[in-house]
């Protein structure tokens, strides 16, 4: 019951935030040169197909988004279509509408993000634990040095370094494109490496904290082997702080897809967002922005839920425990 209330409240806040974000983006884009309806004649109108589409669609578009339509009304027109999944036509890619583009691009970006996350965790957890256990040794120092490299080097530089090594140097991988599993290798490493560095530093410091806790000392005193103590007592608490950084990390990951997809020429959501910005394709920009923001906000809700699931203490903080009487919700 408490869980349901919590979920309902978070989802309500998510919807409100999403509305505000879309209003903000829509309002800002109105200030950009060109209008929602007008840009099509300039941008997409150059190709034959677009011309045909333009003449067919334009009157409806002008009616909804023309210059003499007040901006709140334009926003309402956009919103009333967007809530049923219709983000309008794309000017830059006149063959398909925005919803189709997103439906195609989202799985591409999602698979990159998913594998990057998996890679980052697979590297960071062992690296962080080994570093902490071997605190102060050359192993710790060199692992943390490499982790800091991962933190400091932007993902797009990492992407280019990978291309220089594997494509220019070794001729082992294609420089870009989206043709099969091999075209995922470099983008996933480029996206995951930085996150692995961030995570590894967190795991290390939280393992260090936990190692001195009394229950760990007690477990050791009871005769637990180092491995058993580490796996059963230390690791569980050490991984928890990772959940709190998962939200910001996911935001970084989404930002990363803009660059990595651009460098490798991958037809993902990040690439379409960038192209929409360059070509001032307003409906496509709006669509991508809202989808990105929705994913990020949903991730944050999931993070809170997971956190509550693994740490009973935070349930109280989230208003999930029965004895907490909440103040009025911010939203």
């Amino acid at each position: 019951m408490a869980l349901l209330t919590f979920l309902a409240r978070r989802i309500a806040r998510l919807v409100i935030s999403l509305l505000i974000v879309s209003m903000l983006a829509f309002g800002l884009l109105q200030l950009a040169p060109g209008t929602f309806a007008g840009i099509q004649a300039v941008g997409g109108g150059s190709t034959g197909l677009a011309n045909q589409q333009t003449s067919g669609n334009n009157s409806a578009l002008v009616q909804a988004y023309g210059e003499n339509v007040p901006i709140p009304v334009q926003y309402w027109n956009w919103l009333s279509h967007a809530v049923v999944g219709d983000f309008g036509p794309s000017y830059k890619y006149p063959q398909s509408d925005v919803t189709e583009i997103i439906a195609q691009a989202l799985p591409v970006t999602a698979s990159l993000a998913f594998f990057a996350m998996v890679l980052a965790l697979a590297i960071a957890i062992p690296v962080g634990v080994i570093s902490a256990v071997r605190r102060g040794t050359w192993i710790d120092n060199s692992l943390m040095f490499v982790s800091t490299l991962g933190v400091a080097i932007p993902n797009y530089l990492m992407a280019i370094i990978l291309v220089l090594v594997f494509s220019v140097g070794l001729h082992a991988l294609p420089t870009g494109g989206w043709t099969g599993p091999q075209s995922m290798i470099m983008p996933v490493i480029a996206l995951g490496a930085g996150m692995a560095g961030v995570f590894a530093r967190y795991v290390r410091s939280s393992v260090l904290e936990v190692l001195d806790e009394e229950y760990v000392v007690a477990a050791r005193a009871r005769g637990g082997t180092p491995r058993a103590v580490l796996l059963r007592h230390v690791l569980r608490s050490a991984i928890m702080p990772l959940v709190t950084v998962a939200g910001p990390a996911f935001a970084g990951l989404i930002a990363g897809t803009l660059f990595v997809e651009q460098i490798f020429g991958i037809p993902g959501l990040g690439q379409y967002f960038t192209q929409a910005a360059i070509g001032r394709d307003m409906p496509l920009m709006m669509g991508c922005t809202v989808v990105f923001a929705a994913i990020l906000m949903a991730m944050n809700v999931i993070v809170d839920l997971v956190y509550a699931a693994i740490d009973p203490r935070t349930r109280a903080g989230l208003g999930l425990s029965h004895e907490t009487k909440r103040k009025a919700a911010v939203a």
Binding site: S17, L28, I160, L164, V198, L258, F259, A293
Partner: protein, 303 residues
């Protein structure tokens, strides 16, 4: 990170005040300079700033001087230490002016973000109540809105000027700092010396500026020092996407994407900005890490 590390910090600073022999500032400096990487990074950062300021005088050529008779000169060519690009422009000169662009925009953006964060963080933390709720609801939304998306939208709206890029980056980076400052203010405003100040009849602005703010500058400094490499990364990143400062203003992002087009016939074009850029990011990150340890600050928001 959790309540645990906070008590750690309180305990350690308690012992420090009891057995204080060296001043707080000196203690921090000692701790910072004992960190080899932070110290080296700081020296490198100073050199970078000098090179950026002096770029118009130390660069061998103007950044936009085209020389069609001398295109794709390899590194080491007489007069062109790092070679020339597809238009015969001197790579070293462009590298230095790009450094200037990067630092100028990053410092300006971080300064703007800091001012905004201070105003909002102090107001929210000190006033509390409804103001706090409203401001924090605002930052919540900004927090959930990927800052790069917002930056791209802002550049689309404002055009590709230096000012637009500065605003776009500043708007994306103030949220973290505002939260940090707010948290610090909430912690500080119940301290006894602040109570004492209030009892003596100090006005709210005095309390905030003279009593609370000085105690908050450590975390602020740390947040800003992490903000600078992030802003450099954003500047070059936007340029890389074709949404950064407009040409002919040079940027590492532009150099990298131009070099990417010549990857196979002139890899040195991309190597030069890549190496200097990576070293710059590393130096600033080391300095940030060093400051964080010297000030005992947890920088949870940073990822």
């Amino acid at each position: 990170m959790t309540a645990l590390s906070t008590t750690d910090i309180v305990l350690s600073s308690d012992t420090a005040t009891r057995t204080r022999i060296v001043s707080e500032g000196r203690r921090r400096w000692l701790r910072f300079s004992a960190n080899k990487f932070a110290f080296l990074g700081a020296i490198f950062c100073v050199l970078l700033v000098l090179a950026a300021v002096l770029a118009p005088w130390i660069a061998p050529y103007p950044y936009d001087k085209v020389d069609y008779s001398n295109i794709f000169a390899p590194p080491g060519t007489a007069g062109h230490l790092l070679g020339t690009d597809n238009l015969g422009r001197d790579v070293l000169s462009r590298l230095l002016f790009s450094l200037r662009t990067a630092l100028m925009i990053a410092f300006a953006a971080e300064l703007a973000a800091l001012v905004l964060a201070l105003a909002i963080g102090l107001a929210a933390g000190y006033l509390g109540g409804r103001v706090d709720q409203l401001l924090m609801a605002g930052t919540d939304i900004m927090f959930a809105f990927p800052s790069y998306l917002f930056a791209v939208i802002l550049v689309t709206v404002l055009g590709r000027s230096d000012g637009a890029v500065i605003i776009a980056i500043a708007v994306g980076s103030w949220v973290n700092q505002a939260r940090l400052i707010r948290a610090q203010v909430i912690k500080m405003k119940v301290q006894e010396y602040v109570e004492a100040g209030r009892a003596m009849g100090a006005s709210s602005p005095t309390l905030v500026l003279r009593y609370i703010l000085p105690g908050a500058w450590g975390p602020m400094l740390v947040a800003t020092s992490f903000g600078i490499p992030a802003a450099i990364m954003a500047e070059s990143g936007l340029a890389l996407l074709g949404l950064g400062v407009a040409p002919p203003t040079p940027s590492w992002g532009t150099m990298i994407i131009e070099g990417y087009g010549q990857l196979f016939n002139a890899p040195y074009l991309i190597l030069a900005p890549l190496i200097l850029f990576a070293l710059t990011m590393l130096a600033f990150t080391w300095v940030g890490d060093g400051l964080r340890d010297a000030f005992d600050v947890n920088n949870d928001g940073h990822a």
